[in-house]
């Protein structure tokens, strides 16, 4: 029987990144929780593994913060589902968090790509 531990190439999400990914996913349009999970997994080329329990708690947290809103609706295959939509406040957060993340990624890249040696120091 396959277990989760077998998926070696999957990366557990960093603290705080899940919120950003949810916001980004919802920027494409309203979606239910299961769809959000699938989209994140697919768009990251199956690199990210999303813990579903955490995802729903994160959705709830964002809803409490008023960054997203939710409504029960019907899915394309006629199932009852709770659909999440990005609020204007959430959109603003998305822009902010994205640029924050870019800066962080760039800084990390600079350090990791730099093949510095301790003997050659630049002033």
């Amino acid at each position: 029987m396959p277990t989760q531990e077998n998926n070696d190439d999957r990366i557990a999400l960093l603290q705080g990144t899940l919120d950003l990914l949810i916001l980004k996913t919802l920027a494409l349009g309203p979606c239910h929780g299961q769809g959000v999970a699938r989209l994140i997994q697919r768009q990251s080329e199956e690199v990210f593994f999303v813990d579903h329990g955490s995802l729903y708690l994160a959705l709830q947290r964002l809803e409490d913060k008023d960054w997203i809103s939710a409504q029960w609706g019907v899915s394309e295959n006629n199932r009852k589902a709770r659909f999440y939509t990005l609020t204007p406040k959430g959109r603003k957060q998305l822009v902010e968090k994205t640029s924050e993340w870019r800066r962080l990624a760039r800084a990390m890249g600079l350090i990791l790509d730099n093949s510095f040696s301790p003997t050659r120091e630049e002033a």
């Binding site: 929780g33 699938r38 809803e63 295959n77």
Partner: protein, 887 residues
């Protein structure tokens, strides 16, 4: 905030829908129905954990849990009501006493004037008055010309306010028919506006009102409430002040009762310039009111600094103006005379209250602080003892799966409940105690606890809560699941370390108890000494009251008082009646240097030449019961046309006329304007207050000096002194129906007012000492009883193998005797320090008073013994078999 719109069912619904959607998708990817469902579930992870976390993230959950914990803590406290009641009462007493003393301290010492920006207000004071002037206070009172010059200054000061009482006691007022008395002040036009006091009803005064000496009055909110039942219709009505009609135009803001400490002004009128309303109720001097008289420095002056001006800048700018104004009407300064220097004193707080109440209140605060400490440690000991006996309960709870956190939460909830209940009770207790304190201290200003007091109490409670929560921590953490199952009642509780903490606490409590008892003892002995101080007169049967009749001219004044004396003396039940200008035993005295035989008497270097003088009527010393040593006292025949005669006391004769017969010598004022011939010498007796030392005194006859004003009437009567007042009032009102009796009371009560503060101080200190003893006794009893009960099994074994009852009792007693001895040894040096700090407040007792120390030590020992004997004998009466069976 607390309410989340979403229910748990809704969340479960969403998870269900997720699983279905996921299964659908997996089926599309080719999995079988069964397989897809299982895969979806597995991918989701633990559904229950997610739901649990959803629930916990909700703030309501926290609330529910807290409520459950509270309910549980309440039930667990109810199981031991004795413990709960003792802890709550102890806390309430300790905390309540602290809150009460702190609210008095806050009201008297800490609270700012209820005015706008009090930090920009200053009192204008002088280093010294110029020569040739009379003052009410050497530094704090100024003359009208000085005020007038200050008020004309613009720039440094944005407002200058002068105020002066209409009397040194109360002043006669009438609203409607009945004459009564109230405290009144004359104030300058800028008084209310300059201080920034609001008038919620009506208006204050303007500078025009001051210039016109307008007949207006503003009532204090307190007086309006007390006397007029907050009737808004009083505006526009007439209030007669010393018979002069004033129209009520305003009511001052609540809480504003003047700027003097401890007193409460009932009404204010603009500065007046008529004889009936002279400053301090004094008679005119050379026919001049305070406004026309530059030699009488009687006004209190305050100022508001202009924005951006510092105190020193303002003082520098005003100094020259002040100095030239000080000599208006006085001529130029004498050679070598120190010119008066202007000084700005802080007006944030009430002036003078610090000197008057500061030290006693701080000492009391320290005492109640100790009481609180004893109370808190008591409760901590109770808690520790209780939780130690619950060790098995805790272990069992742990064994049954309770988390350590849950256990701690329970303990904190219990202490929270105790602190809340104790705090609420303490507040109620403090409210009552504050009211009683205010009455005893004769502080008429409002003592109602304000926000500062509330914060103080809450801070103390929070501290207590934390302490109570932390105390049982160790006990709770020590217990573990196996312990309960392994050990028996007798052995699981005999933790040596714990009882060591208890012993240290008991010892410290005993030491603090010694300190409090010594302090209380010293002060109570001071009070006894003061109460039993011989006054040099017979005050029993004496009653005194003031009158302030309208006196059109000095000769008419003489006649009026002679007639009044005559009619009062004719009343049935009256033995003798006399008059005096300064009421004896009221702190007031007239102090000055006097010439003896034409010149100021020689005194040894540094000795004082000051003589206290009083103006009295005939029959004065016979009425008081003061022995006349030689010569005679004033008689009705000593009139303005007869030679002016005077009387001195022993101290005067000994100091200024030694080795000669004082009779026949001439004495007089230091400026040489008035002289009199000594015709009598009387025995020294108390004048100003009970605790004064003998001082040279001289008496003038009112009928022979050119000032006649308000007087106090002293009557010696048969039977109950106060019973004469209604008929005396009738006699007085035959002269003027507007005339009330001012502050009528027995002469004994009048003298007692001069030691009321010491008496209050002593009584409170005694109360706190008693409270400390009570708390220590309960604490000691509780601890010992608990420790004995822990050793029941041990005692049973000892008795079973042959120990006698006496031996068991001794074993228990030995322990507490040791603690007591150490406590006393620690307490005595501390008490000595406290005694030294108290020196200034003692009268007739040395700080090292052996009796006080002996009584304190005896008291502590008695309490310790009593608290030990009961548990000890109970332990010894244990039936060995029963004790062993408690296993």
């Amino acid at each position: 905030m607390f309410n989340r719109k979403r229910s748990q069912q809704d969340f479960a619904e969403e998870i269900k829908s997720h699983l279905e959607l996921e299964a659908d998708e997996l089926k599309r990817e080719g999995l079988s129905d069964e397989e897809a469902r299982r895969q979806a579930r597995r991918e989701f992870g633990n559904v229950r954990v997610a739901q649990e976390r959803f629930y916990l993230n909700d703030r309501w959950a926290f609330f529910h849990k807290t409520l459950r914990d509270l309910r549980f803590a309440f039930r667990s406290l109810r199981q031991s009501p004795g413990f709960a009641i003792t802890a709550i009462l102890t806390l309430a007493l300790g905390m309540g006493a602290n809150t009460a003393v702190f609210s008095v301290m806050n009201a008297v010492l800490l609270r700012s004037l209820p005015v706008f920006e009090p930090n920009r207000l200053v009192h204008i004071e002088t280093s010294n008055p110029p020569r040739g002037t009379g003052t009410v206070d050497t530094h704090q009172t100024l003359s009208y010309p000085v005020y007038d010059a200050m008020r004309r200054q613009t720039g440094a000061l944005s407002a200058v306010m002068a105020y002066v009482p209409l009397s040194n006691t109360k002043v006669a007022v009438r609203y409607g028919a009945e004459p009564e008395v109230a405290e009144g002040e004359m104030v300058s036009g800028a008084f209310f506006s300059g201080l920034g006091v609001n008038l919620p009803l009506g208006r204050g005064f303007s500078s025009q009102d001051e210039t016109d000496h307008a007949p207006l009055a503003v009532l204090s909110s307190n007086y309006w409430t007390r006397r007029f039942a907050r009737d808004p219709a009083v505006l526009g009505k007439t209030l007669y002040v010393n018979g002069v009609p004033m129209t009520i135009v305003g009511i001052s803001a609540k809480g504003f009762e003047g700027v003097e400490p401890g007193g409460s002004t009932d009404f204010w009128i603009p500065l007046q310039n008529v004889p009936a309303l002279n400053a301090w109720g004094n008679p005119l001097q050379d026919g001049k009111t305070y406004i026309a008289n530059p030699t009488w420095w009687c006004l209190r002056v305050m100022a508001r600094l202009a924005p951006g001006v510092t105190r020193s800048q303002a003082a520098a700018q005003l100094q020259p103006v002040f100095q030239s104004a000080a000599y208006i009407g006085l001529g130029s300064p004498m050679e070598g005379e120190k010119p008066p220097v202007l000084n700005f004193a802080d007006a944030t707080n009430f002036p003078g209250s610090d000197q008057e109440y500061g030290k006693p209140l701080r000492i009391l605060m320290a005492m109640v602080g100790l009481v609180l400490l004893i109370a808190l440690t008591n409760v901590v000991m109770l808690l520790m003892a209780r939780n130690a006996t619950r060790q098995r309960e805790f272990s069992l709870r742990l064994a049954l799966g309770a988390g350590r956190g849950a256990l701690l939460r329970l303990l904190f909830m219990e202490s929270l409940l105790l602190v809340t209940a104790g705090g609420a009770l303490a507040w109620a207790f403090a409210e009552a105690a504050t009211r009683i304190l205010g009455q005893w201290a004769q502080i008429e200003s409002s003592l109602a606890p304000d926000r500062t007091v509330l914060l103080f109490t809450l801070a103390a409670l929070a501290l207590a809560g934390l302490l109570f929560g932390l105390a049982p921590l160790r006990v709770a953490l020590v217990g573990n699941a196996e312990l309960a199952l392994k050990t028996s009642a007798a052995t699981s509780n005999s933790d040596a370390g714990k009882s060591r903490t208890g012993r240290i606490i008991v010892t410290l409590q005993l030491a603090m108890c010694v300190v409090l008892l010594v302090a209380g003892g010293l002060l109570i002995r001071t009070m006894r000494n003061l109460e039993n101080t011989p006054l040099g007169m017979d005050v029993n049967g004496l009653v005194v009251f003031g009158v302030n009749p309208k006196i059109p001219s000095i000769p008419e004044g003489y006649v009026l008082y002679a007639n009044l004396l005559g009619r009062l003396r004719a009343m049935p039940g009256v033995e003798s009646v006399t008059l005096m200008e300064e009421r004896i035993g009221s702190w007031w005295s007239d102090n000055s240097d006097m010439r003896v035989d034409g010149r100021l008497p020689d005194v040894a270097d540094g000795a004082s030449r000051t003589v206290r003088s009083n103006v009295i009527g005939s029959d004065f010393f016979r009425t008081l019961g003061v022995p006349i040593l030689s010569g005679r006292e004033f008689a009705d025949s000593d009139t303005v046309n007869a030679p002016r005669v005077g009387i001195v006391n022993e101290e005067f004769a000994n100091r200024f006329l030694p080795n000669t017969n004082p009779l026949g010598h001439t004495i007089g004022t230091d400026d040489g304007r008035f002289t009199m011939t000594i015709v009598g010498v009387v025995k020294d007796h108390k004048y100003r207050s009970i605790d004064e030392e003998p001082i040279p005194m001289a008496w003038w006859n009112y009928a022979q000096i050119p000032y006649v004003g308000g007087m106090s009437v002293e009557m010696r009567v048969h039977g109950e002194p106060l019973a004469i007042l209604p008929s005396a009032r009738k006699v007085v009102q035959q002269f003027d129906p507007n005339l009330p009796l001012i502050k009528p009371m027995t002469q004994r009560d009048q003298f007692d007012t001069t030691i009321s503060q010491q008496i209050l101080f002593a009584r409170l200190a005694g109360c706190f000492g008693f409270l400390a003893v009570l708390l220590v006794a309960t604490g000691l009893y509780g601890t010992l009883a608990y420790r004995v009960s822990m050793r029941t099994a041990e005692i049973g074994v000892r008795m079973a193998v042959g120990a006698r009852r006496g031996q068991v009792v001794w074993m228990i007693l030995q322990d507490s005797l040791l603690l007591t001895a150490i406590g006393v040894a620690l307490g005595i040096p501390l008490a000595m320090l406290v005694g030294r700090a108290l020196t200034a407040s003692l009268y007739g007792v040395k700080p090292m008073d052996a009796v006080s120390y002996f009584l304190a030590v005896a008291g502590v020992c008695t309490v310790a013994l009593a608290a030990s004997i009961i548990p000890a004998t109970r332990a010894a009466s244990v039936d060995p078999l029963k004790a062993l069976r408690t296993e």
